[in-house]
Symmetry: C2
Subunit: 197 residues, 2 copies
Amino acid sequence: MSYEVAALSTLVEQFERIPGIGHKGAQRMAFYVLNMPEEEAQKFADSILSARKKIHYCKKCCNLTEGDLCTICSNEARDQTVVCVVEDPRDVMAFERTHEYKGTYHVLHGAISPMSGIGPDQLTVKELLNRLDGVQEVIMATNPTVEGEATAMYLSRLLKPMGIRTTRLAYGVPVGADLEYADEVTLSRAMEGRREI
Amino acid sequence: MSYEVAALSTLVEQFERIPGIGHKGAQRMAFYVLNMPEEEAQKFADSILSARKKIHYCKKCCNLTEGDLCTICSNEARDQTVVCVVEDPRDVMAFERTHEYKGTYHVLHGAISPMSGIGPDQLTVKELLNRLDGVQEVIMATNPTVEGEATAMYLSRLLKPMGIRTTRLAYGVPVGADLEYADEVTLSRAMEGRREI
């Protein structure tokens, strides 16, 4: 092509590397940057660098934080005897949005998946085992997928002999959904787990 | 919310400001940045700043360029007597992808739209009038929309008295499309513009 602006192509390529962003989307984003006032572009670039530099794992729960401990682990009002094990920091955000759960979390940063070569050593399992002093219950809140299930099973087999109560999220029909469209496995789990009203 | 990582929220907000990116998408992008190696994050931030700083308008055609003149205006092999007027730098890219057009361009950076308060003064019309020395044909390649049409009409009324040939892109059915789904206006324009085979 005879027409090319190097700095623009570089920027488009950078945006294109983000999963889920195609060429057209990357181009639209690059043009948005070109039309930004210069100080806004500076802020944008700074926010990328500062997020990358400042954010690391919480020493205790391996969630993302800027400090030594995350705001949940360092919060005295949270019940430190209950640990909710999740796969991803976004799962913590999802639970926090419920405003119901008052315990702490542990972020595994993945799930056991032999197919992708991810075993317990690639996850923060060791960190979990090292923080169980005083913990009374560990809630397995890994995803309801094959990998999530396997991870929950693996961890509960490790924890039960240590005398710690291990629980799993309830399965059932999602609130607001249409029963007609629920899959068979979910429906039979919902039936199994039925409760007195 | 008791759980928040400031640097992460800032980054999500920055991505969210890009048109077409929602909260979930911005979050996904921010997490992608967090998982980048540090030098990659640096490159990403640099590409934003350098695109914003290096790229400006070509002195002649107002297209985006890093130099004084864009690679098309400074290319002796291009026919400088033909100017194709487009609304946006992306339209130049679209025409360049055809590898057919050998003339030059002029980028208006918009179209006349009284509803949005955009008149000829907000576009690069003055720059177009200042570069007509030796130009024999101006092709109106603004979008086939109300605003694009109005802009093409306005410019052709300015240029015709100066003895410059002004032409407009052909209307018709797009190649590869299904006639069944073509709208009435396009179909009647295609009929009007029919040619001997």
